[in-house]
Amino acid sequence: MMDTTVAVRTSRFADWRARHQSGIEEARHNLHVFLRDKLAVAGLIVIVATVVVAVFAAYLAPYPEQGRGDSDMANRLQPPSAENIMGTDQQGRDVLSRVMFGARIPLVISVVVTAGVLLVGVPLGGIAGYFGGWIDEAVMRITDIFLAFPALVFAMALVAFLGASLRNVALALVITWWPWYARLVRGMAISLRERPYVLAAKTMGVSHFTIIRRHILPNAFGPVIVQMTVDVGAVILEVAALSFIGLGAKPPTPEWGLMISEGRQYILSAWWLSTFAGIAVFGLVLAYNLVGDALRDILDPRLKR
């Protein structure tokens, strides 16, 4: 009792700590569980390294200008060597630099896409699940329409319609992904709305909006986060795929899918063009999946202590 009272007066930080003591302990516990999973730690390292490389590509890349698109026709299609660790491409650009700059696109797009998906899908799913009835019917029928098309084909059609660009790829991915999240959150909301604490909040006169915001969404968030980490990998793959077929990034943008596509015609003579970009995609997607698996173990309520 004294602890809290004293802490409140000593400093704002101590007050903050006292208030969030429980959360801090839980976070510490979760971190402990996460760190015991070696594969997940490896995945996290890959992701963090990718972020660092993407942010500091201009300083880290051996040939920053080439990474951005300057060609050096004298050095076309050089195999890996001391100067060009991953060799050079059909325009003489250093593949390593291009792979490093290429890390920016999937990271930015995955953040934009997940943010967009969450912004649309989570509130819609929460409202549909909490209120039920005709609101639920309406939202679910709309998601049915979106889910009736294969996601990638749908995204392709949208980008083809909107015009090929990375911005439109992001938009198309948001449009094809949000229904999954709406459904996920709706399912959670339906099971949560009958929980005694929600009923208790209703009897206290708490408004529907506050109940959704305070009681439904925070408790529906665990599965959403898990789904997100796994989906980020898929988003990266789809961006690469759309660029690969010419619907995403335009040359000379350093984009992994585009690089694989460009290297395709040289695959027999200059294997390094497609290979290193492919490894980058593969590595990053795998890293996200590993982290996602570990988060599932931590956040899945059924596995909770």
Partner: protein, 359 residues
């Protein structure tokens, strides 16, 4: 018996002595977390293997140590000779099989029977549990049955292979009171008509009083008192048993309700000595550092309490230096040194003492 968890080692059981005689229902009574379910599970070897470790002790079934038995043999015993009924009958039945299929599966695993003969055994088992052995019932799925019927189906499955020992873990807790009484009467019938010995795990003192021949009261991983039902409930010796009975609301007004101060100790770091000493009104110095040894306080009635021992005039220090099971204070709980080892004989026919012992 220990559990390994993220927070540390949970010392779930600590010296549980329990004897089940033939044709006897023994109640394991205690509050949540006292270790009664762990005891029940360990009889059937159902505890999760890497986390749960039996650090010492024996479980003797007709003289054989179940803990020393190889997996294969244990599997053959489980469901046949020793079987279990759980609290939630819906969760313990497979929703995609009909009643007939589920039970005949168990029968055919343990007995080499034709489909027809197995079905006959199923009907007999159902009849024994008071269910009509009709085709309609055999063909119905668990979700189509009421809670009481599901629990009867579980019991039919448990006894379908002629089990000699049934471990029932809170079999009536999920049921309504009128149905609960029906199931309790069924347990008594299984004992009387089929000679099924039972361990009834329950938190409800009333359920134990109505059903059991003997009762073992557990607290924080220990059996603190054990004896004939009437003796334990009407003349409780251990302070915890008495307190538990006094907490019952039966026939008391809200002002008269007694409570036990404090909370059940954390079993990762259990208190030294008697595990009840922090909440006990009669705590002695010795209770804080020495674990009490069970001694016979009346005929067939055992308790592990320094204070009772002191009162009884036997002196407190007498047993402390001894291993449980020997010494002047008496042989605790394992009162049948000559447990017959019956080879092959069916449980209902063979003369046996089902001795579950733990240290």
């Amino acid at each position: 018996m220990e559990f390994r968890s993220l927070r540390g080692v949970v010392k779930a059981l600590n010296g549980v002595y329990l004897t089940v005689h033939e044709r006897e229902i023994v109640g394991l009574v205690g509050e949540s977390g006292c270790g009664k379910t762990v005891t029940g599970y360990s009889v059937l070897g159902l505890l999760p293997k890497p986390q749960a470790q039996v650090t010492s002790g024996r479980i003797l079934f007709k003289g054989d140590d179940l803990l020393a038995k190889p997996q294969q043999e244990m599997r053959a015993l489980k469901g046949k000779v020793i079987s279990m009924v759980f609290q939630d009958p819906l969760a313990s039945l497979n929703p995609v099989f009909t009643v007939g299929e589920q039970i005949s599966r168990v029968v055919r695993v343990h007995h080499d029977l034709e489909k027809k003969a197995a079905l006959e055994a199923v009907r007999t088992a159902l009849q024994a549990t008071g269910l009509p052995p009709t085709d309609a019932l055999l063909k119905s799925y668990p979700h189509q049955l009421s809670g009481g019927m599901r629990q009867r189906v579980c019991m039919a499955m448990a006894i379908s292979c002629g089990a000699g020992l049934l471990v029932a873990d809170e079999p009536t807790t999920a049921l309504d009171v009128t149905i609960q009484m029906q199931i309790l009467k069924l347990l008594l019938r299984l004992r009387d008509e089929l000679g099924v010995s039972q361990i009834l795990i329950t938190h409800n003192v009333g359920v134990a009083a109505q059903t059991c021949d003997r009762i073992a009261v557990m607290y924080a991983g220990n059996v603190v008192e054990e004896g004939p039902t009437a003796d334990v409930l009407k003349r409780p010796r251990h302070p915890y048993t008495l307190a538990l009975i006094e907490c019952l609301p039966q026939g008391k007004s809200a002002e008269q309700l007694k409570t036990i101060p404090g909370a059940v100790p954390d079993l990762i770091d259990p208190p030294a000595g008697c595990r009840f000493h922090e909440r006990c009104a009669h705590v002695r110095d010795i209770c804080r550092d020495t674990m009490p040894t069970p001694f016979e306080v009346a005929r067939d009635h055992w308790t592990a309490c320094h204070w009772v021992q002191e009162k009884s005039g036997r002196g407190v220090g007498v047993t402390t230096g001894h291993e449980p099971g020997v010494g002047a204070a008496g042989v605790p709980f394992n009162r049948d040194p000559g447990i017959e080892h019956t080879a092959g004989g069916g449980p209902a026919t063979g003369e046996s003492g089902d001795d579950i012992r733990r240290e």
